[in-house]
Amino acid sequence: MAGVAVSTTINGDNVEYLCQPDETLLDVLRDRLGLTGAKEGCGTGDCGACSIILDDRLVCSCLVLGAEAEGRRVETIEGMAHGDKLHPLQQKFLEHAALQCGICTPGFLIAAKDLLAKNPDPTEEEIRFGLAGNLCRCTGYDKIVRAVQDAASVMKGA
């Protein structure tokens, strides 16, 4: 099986890789590029743990082929903080203890970032439906929703 050569942008950096035609972008990120922040919870787009942003669209990287990233912009959890300065969402997740085991956290942060980019002042219901594609088994979502609400108000003020 012939590999596909891909040239793409990940977290602002130009990246080139060779992948198999049936290899998912999630596998490329994790296994070829060492970006293990996106997690595989299901591999079928049902848990959101592998969420990334692809050309300003929130997607599950397990449902994207590595080959499809050619010429596109990929944003992952590894690019969310600016240097040692955490994104407000990251900070608020810490302050609100919006994570217990933390496996779903990168996916939630990426999804919440996308949500606030499109809707800077969401209601609780909008947050809940906006994050419905991300499963969390530990928290019951309460503290996640509060962290997003708090981050939204901080980001509006900024």
Binding site: C47, L94, A97, L99, C101, V145
Partner: protein, 754 residues
């Protein structure tokens, strides 16, 4: 040694505050490494071949074609994991579950495994393994499996615990009984009796992280295992025993764990990964798919429960009994027994009797799931309690308060209770504003109580004081939900220093003594006790060193607020020495300063919770909506209240999912129909309201700070609380969990029709 665990009241400086957890930044930046995030040079990909049959004899396995496939480095079957369990029946079951020997006992049972250079080759190799199955009749339903006509899974099983030993084998491995008094007489005094049968379907812990490990067996007989687990010391023991290794030669490192809830308390594929690595001579990474997680790892029991409770007009329960049948998967368990012990634990009963039956079925091996077995029993009992209160005409909370267990009550499982929290949770619920909030059309409110034992167990910590005065705390209980923050707080509290000066890590099995796993709500309870003990041992050394520095007797030195202080008139001018100052001089006063602790943290203290919820039911579709939810639970002492709230909320959410939608669905062919997050429906964010919590603090007399376990109890009341709310909203008593819309609609229609 000589550690006094008894509670004494004190004012806390650190405990009870809510700092950011030490592992937090790694987890919000994607740097934390979980089971599947670790790799080794030259590692192979391991994959497991699983039975497509619910029950089949394995006549022959031909692996020759797979072995010849280029890129395949090892193929194993049960022959590569011979039985070394030496009569240890529980370990034999774990072994057989890891790799089927003579029979495949459920859809998904491992029968062979391969290690190959990449995932594609491994997948191809699995297809080349030829298994000759003789398909046998199967049974997946707990009630069906008890019938004498049911296919028998294991013909060496003769029901234990019967007065006469049965002459024929059956699927019932054991009968157990608990209780006291005379229920027959008790029912004779009852004015009202409620009798109902209930069923609950099988659910999965549903952790988001699939089981994952990297195994590396060296030709010198030593090995390393990186794995997501709730107990790496336990995994080490299991793996060492199953592979015939010395425990000390197997070093197990627990990765960050992406949820466990009981499902990562014993090994599943880890021995397989080690066996593959041993055969291939290379590291092997084995990660389960989600499908494999559902089909072949730890669900809880499906149950069938009959309950009968009688009470006098004045609201006093005169007798209570229950028969509980719990599925164990294909291997003997004690799940019904735990159900039988916990069922009536909230109540003060003169006459009580519970009987449990452990039942084998062709489903995956039942594993612990958060307060295992208690939620189903509570569902049945608390539903009947609600119904009985209605018949008597008493308020549901009042009825429970009247019959609640208290200090001195003989528990339904035997012992007499010490100070307990069921009464206070009920009183808190009674006066909670939630109970008075108005309800709309098609809305109902329910409440229910729950009980769980909580465990202690073997625990070991090392507390090392650096020369700069900072403290590293090594613990051996895996952090499943923020315990490193709690344990740092405890170390800071005991030493009298700032939280930020302490860094807690989870040590691997080579660098710390044995620890039982993080189960039974014991992580923070046990490790905090060991941490206090270690810190006190360190403080003793700190005092000795300060005494040396001052050249006075250690008896004249006390430890207060992070400082050594010289006591007595003649030392009035000595002032204080800080921990940092003493640590800085440690090279001259006797070397490194550390405190160790090895103990059995017993006396965990039982735990109670009472939950309230409001549910709206759509009477045309049977659809439900959770409008409001409140958890009241006793924490003993909340070390890090935010993470205690998190445990309450998380348990409630899991219980809500179980109550409403989660279930294993088997086809007539005995195969699991919904092994994925699409059709195994755990609650999503938009399904839930905020979950309010109220932490009660009734100190545990057996912990220096009064801490109780908090992790599990919160999953016990929700099934019943929601069932009671649905019943109040829809006017029908729901007796089958989950109360999925088709079940609710059918019940409503039946009520209308009949």
């Amino acid at each position: 040694m000589n550690f006094d665990p008894r509670y004494s009241a004190r004012n806390f400086a650190s405990v009870g505050t809510r700092p950011i957890r030490p592992d937090g930044v790694d987890k919000v930046t994607g740097r934390a490494r979980y089971g599947a995030d670790f790799n080794m040079a030259g590692q192979l990909v391991g994959r497991v071949l699983r039975s497509p049959h619910a029950h089949a004899t394995i006549r022959k396995i031909d692996t020759s074609k797979a072995e010849k496939l280029p890129g395949v480095k090892a193929v194993i079957t049960a022959a590569d994991l011979p039985d070394l369990t030496d009569g240890d029946a529980a370990m034999y079951d774990i072994l057989d579950n890891c790799m089927a020997r003579n029979k495949a006992l459920y859809d998904g049972h491992a029968v062979a495994a391969v290690a190959a250079v990449d995932a594609r080759t491994a997948r191809q190799a699995l297809k080349l393994i030829e298994v000759d199955y003789e398909v046998l009749p199967h049974v997946t339903d707990v009630d069906e499996a008890m019938k004498h006509t049911a296919p028998v899974l294991n013909d060496t099983i003769f029901t234990e615990g019967l007065e006469e030993k049965p002459v024929k084998p059956s699927n019932v491995t054991k009968r157990t009984q608990y209780g006291h008094g005379d229920v027959h007489e008790g029912f004779g005094h009852a004015d009202f009796i409620v009798e109902r049968s209930f069923k609950t379907e099988q659910t999965h812990q549903g952790y988001i992280e699939p089981h994952a490990c990297v195994a590396n067996v060296s030709s010198d007989g030593t090995a390393d295992l990186w794995v997501c687990t709730q107990g790496h010391f336990v995994y080490r023991q299991h793996c060492a025993q199953l592979l015939g290794m010395e425990a000390s030669k197997l070093r197990v490192t627990s990765s960050e764990i992406g949820g466990g809830f009981g499902g990562k308390t014993h090994v599943w594929a880890e021995p397989v990964a080690l066996a593959l690595s041993r055969k291939a001579g290379r590291p092997v990474k084995l990660v389960m798919t989600r499908d494999e997680v559902f089909r072949a790892s730890g669900p809880t029991s499906a149950t069938s429960i009959d309950v009968r409770i009688g009470a006098r007009k004045d609201g006093t329960i005169t007798a209570a009994e229950a028969t509980l049948r719990y599925s164990c998967g294909p291997y003997a368990g004690m799940w019904a027994e735990i159900g039988a012990m916990t069922a009536f634990a909230c109540y003060n009963l003169e006459n009580v009797k519970t009987v449990g039956f452990e039942v084998l079925v062709n489903r995956p091996k039942t594993a612990a799931y958060r307060a295992p077995s208690a939620p189903m029993a509570a569902f049945a009992v608390e539903s009947a309690i609600d119904e009985l209160a209605k018949e008597i005409g008493m308020d549901a909370v009042e009825f429970r308060i009247r019959n609640a267990a208290q200090e001195g009550t003989r528990s339904s499982y035997g012992p007499v209770y010490g100070p307990i929290g069921i009464g206070p949770t009920l009183e808190a619920v009674k006066s909670h504003p939630h109970m008075k909030a108005p309800l709309g059309k098609n809305q109902g409110r329910g409440m229910a109580c729950g009980f769980w034992f909580n465990f202690g167990g073997q625990t070991c910590t090392d507390l090392n004081i650096g020369m700069d005065g900072s403290v590293s705390l090594a613990v051996g209980t895996v952090d499943v939900g923020g315990s490193r923050a709690s344990l740092s707080l405890v170390a800071a509290e005991e030493l009298g220093i700032a939280y930020e000066q302490v860094k807690t890590v989870v040590a691997d099995t080579a660098t710390l003594g044995y620890n039982d796993m993080t189960d039974g709500s014991r992580g923070t309870f046990s490790s905090s006790m060991a941490t206090i003990s270690a810190a006190r041992n360190a403080t003793k050394i700190l005092r000795e060193r300060a005494a040396q520095m001052w050249d006075i007797s250690v008896d004249d030195v006390v430890w207060e607020k992070g400082h050594a202080t010289a006591k007595g008139e003649k030392h009035g001018n000595l002032g204080q020495l800080s921990l940092k100052e003493i640590a800085g001089a440690s090279g001259k006063t006797g070397g490194p300063i550390a405190g160790h602790s090895e103990l059995v943290a017993d006396g965990a203290g039982v735990s109670f919770a009472t939950h309230i919820c409001d549910i709206e039911v759509d009477p045309e579709t049977g659809s439900t909506r959770v409008l409001r939810y409140t958890v009241v639970q006793d924490a003993g002492k909340a070390v890090h209240p935010t993470y205690v709230e998190g445990q309450y909320q998380g348990g409630a959410a899991q219980g809500i999912g179980w109550a409403l939608n989660e279930e294993y669905i088997y086809g007539k062919d005995g195969r699991l129909q919904n092994p994925g997050f699409l059709d195994y429906r755990i609650p999503v964010c938009s399904d839930l309201p905020m979950i309010d919590t109220q932490i009660l603090e009734i100190p545990n007399p057996n912990h220096p700070y009064g801490v109780r376990g908090v992790g599990e109890t919160s999953i016990v009341p929700p099934l019943a609380a929601i069932a009671n709310a649905v019943s109040n909203a829809a006017g029908v008593r729901m007796t089958h969990i989950p109360m999925s819309p088709p079940r609710i609609l059918a019940a409503i229609e039946a009520e209308r029709g009949g």
